[in-house]
């Protein structure tokens, strides 16, 4: 194991090369350019192909061709560029091709700016393009995880023949930390389905368009069965101090690191709070929530206008409907799009507000609205434009 000091974007590149990535395609866009440039400098040294594409539209189709040939391949971009790739992502999913896509996110909508934001959660986790499909979506929260989850993305993509996305914060992409690099691997198992020329075997077809209506239905059923297998086997989350927690913070990526500081502060004050940090954003780690049915309230912290909180609500709603004993937590949201970064202080105050709300609500559940009014006029600081849902 090799320990070094690297930028997040470069750690992705080095981990990809070590994972056997032999073709990389990319188009310049900030804040992911270090990855593009790292691959330009180092992939040819490893005997691989670096190719700067004329657009993200072309780049994702180059990836489609490279993975159809059975090679491990990757493409990276940032939010607006990922929007352009949605056609190709839908085609990759329909043709059941692997391939790793890196999105080092920036603030949107539109061109937006390179300010920090986690506003691509819904695009990444709900398919993003047309049709019913899912990407496997991994969310690193450190430079170490930029490397580790890149390795995992290649493995899962190959295992399920499904595109896998690394959804990384611009902050972590630009940040330097120590990282233990994974050992070099080969390209993974051979791919008998790949289109390499039919010498000595039946021909292989990599198709996105089924021939008949029936075949399209069958493709959809096959994809959904695969997604069910992924949901059952691949949920990942980090749970910090959740064993005795009455309150849980839910956050991914860089938000989770800020939230962890708040957890430490609150624990020091005797508040029983923990953190659930989804690592797989799709599949969403529902099991982590089911493991803690006694949590009374969750605060979801995101750098967007409330995207992952939708999945938390769905998960909790399913738990209640599925009668996980005791489960009926209240859910609150802290977040904003367009460049907002929450502070540990803000998160701590919002957890205390949630705790107070739940305390006062005991025996007065019919008066929740009044409680909220009282709470807002109490010691809670001004909202400063931040949202609670």
């Amino acid at each position: 194991m090799e320990r070094t000091f690297m930028k997040g974007n470069e750690a992705i590149g080095e981990a990809a090369i070590r994972a056997g990535c032999r073709l990389y395609f990319g188009y310049p866009i900030t804040p992911q350019n270090e990855l593009l440039e790292y691959m330009a400098a180092h992939l040819p040294e490893a005997g691989g192909v670096f190719l700067q594409s004329e657009s993200e539209l072309a780049g994702i189709s180059m990836l489609y061709g490279a993975v159809a040939a059975g090679k491990r391949a990757m493409i990276s971009s940032s939010s607006p560029g990922i929007s352009l790739m949605q056609e190709g992502l839908s085609f990759l999913a329909s043709a059941e091709l692997p391939g790793v896509i890196v999105n080092i996110t920036r603030g949107g909508p539109g061109l937006g700016r390179i300010t920090p934001a986690q506003s691509d959660y819904l695009q990444a986790t709900k398919g993003g393009g047309h049709g019913d499909y899912n990407l496997i979506v991994l969310a690193p929260s450190s430079v170490q995880e930029m490397a580790d989850l890149t390795t995992l993305a290649f493995e899962l993509a190959d295992k399920y023949r499904n595109p896998a996305m690394l959804l990384g914060d611009g902050i972590i992409g630009q940040m330097m930390e120590t990282v233990t690099l994974p050992p070099a691997m080969d390209q993974g198992e051979s791919k008998p389905w790949a289109a390499t020329g039919c010498e000595g075997r039946e021909r292989n077809l990599i198709l996105s368009a089924p021939y008949t209506d029936q075949e399209l239905m069958e493709l959809n059923m096959r994809l959904q069965a695969k997604y069910a297998r992924i949901k059952a086997a691949e949920q990942r989350a980090e749970c910090e101090q959740m064993e005795d927690a009455e309150y849980g913070i839910v956050a991914f990526g860089i938000s989770a690191r800020l939230a962890l500081a708040a957890v430490d502060d609150l624990r020091a004050d005797g508040v029983k709070v923990g953190l659930i940090r989804p690592i797989t954003l799709w599949p969403f780690p529902e099991n982590a929530f089911r493991a803690y049915p006694k949590v009374r309230g969750y605060l979801v912290v995101e750098m967007n206008e409330g995207q992952m909180v939708q999945d938390v609500r769905l998960t909790v709603s399913d738990m209640v409907n599925g009668r996980v004993p005791g489960a009926a937590p209240t859910i609150r949201f802290l977040g904003h799009g367009g460049g907002y970064v929450p502070t540990a202080t803000e998160i701590r105050e919002r957890v205390m507000e949630l705790a107070r709300l739940l305390r006062e609500a005991v025996g007065a559940s019919e008066a929740v609205g009044a409680v909220r009014t009282a709470s807002a006029s109490g010691s809670v600081p001004a909202e400063g434009g931040r949202r609670t849902a």
């Binding site: 072309a58 040939a69 039919c198 021939y211």
Partner: protein, 279 residues
């Protein structure tokens, strides 16, 4: 008594019937490609990239490894394939809507990079699969469902001469245009198609053959009249012949000729694939 075989289906074609409309030129284009691959003995190491349009299901007929790309992205998909498999033969089979409308950026940049890919560009001057809308190659005055009074250059400009445009790019190796409108032209087209594969096999760059094709159903003409329309109208605007050929090999023939003056070698050993390991 043994029968003498005088004509047979190319090995690179499956037994499935063509799905194309009566009088459509795709069947001829498919056959020319299959014959060239058979003759060069490269079936076992060739990958086809299909496009979106009438030929979206060419995998039914080409008995080859086939990768189906998104609309217009054929040359980006082929770039990824060829860069991953530099020792294999990669070709795209694309219509004019796919290659010259939505896929023009991918086409121009693959040509500019000199990707060692063979491109079969079937130009029938119309969007066929979607029902006869105007294409970038639709002729002036030609009636389509989106411009029923005919293409007006004042409104939508002039048809794009893709071959001439790409021939100007330094990294393109071989660019030719032929028509599938008569036996004479089909024979010339066959030579051009084969040459486009030979250039790739010789390690050359981007090689494209534009095949002028008839779409009787959207021209609203009987098949024979549609072929006549290609000769009388398309060939006039889109002149035939080689626009560019690698200097190492002599030019195949003069524009509009009969296809004599075959190119040099017979490629990679002739018909080596028959009965080989590429079933």
């Amino acid at each position: 008594m043994t029968d003498k075989v005088v004509f047979r289906k190319p090995q690179c074609l499956t037994d499935k019937a063509f799905l194309y409309c009566p009088g459509c030129s795709h069947g001829i284009a498919h056959r020319l490609v299959a014959e060239a691959i058979d003759e060069l003995g490269i079936r076992g190491r060739t990958v086809c990239v299909s496009s979106i349009g009438c030929s979206v299901r060419c995998w039914r007929n080409f008995d080859l490894d086939v990768v189906q790309g998104a609309h217009g992205r054929g040359l980006a998909v082929a770039t990824g394939l060829k860069r991953a498999l530099p020792d294999k033969v990669v070709f795209t089979y694309q219509g004019d809507g796919d290659l010259a409308a939505i896929g023009m950026a991918e086409t121009v940049h693959a040509a500019a990079r000199g990707e060692a890919i063979t491109v079969i560009f079937v130009n029938n001057a119309v969007f066929g699969a979607t029902g006869g809308q105007m294409a970038p190659t639709t002729l002036v005055g030609q009636k389509t469902t989106t411009y029923p009074k005919g293409r007006d250059p004042g409104h939508v400009g002039m048809p794009i001469k893709v071959s001439e445009m790409l021939a100007q790019l330094p990294a393109t190796a071989y660019i030719a245009r032929e028509a599938l409108s008569s036996p004479k032209h089909v024979l010339a087209a066959k030579k051009a198609v084969r040459r486009a594969f030979e250039v790739q096999l010789a390690g050359g760059g981007f090689a494209m053959v534009e095949l002028l094709a008839a779409c009787p159903i959207n021209l609203k003409l009987p098949p024979v009249d549609a072929l006549k329309w290609v000769e009388e109208n398309m060939v006039r605007y889109y002149p035939l012949g080689e626009l560019k050929s690698p200097p190492a090999a002599p030019p195949a023939r003069a524009a509009g000729g009969t296809g004599v003056g075959a190119t040099g070698g017979e490629g990679a050993g002739g018909r080596t694939c028959a009965g080989g390991g590429c079933q």
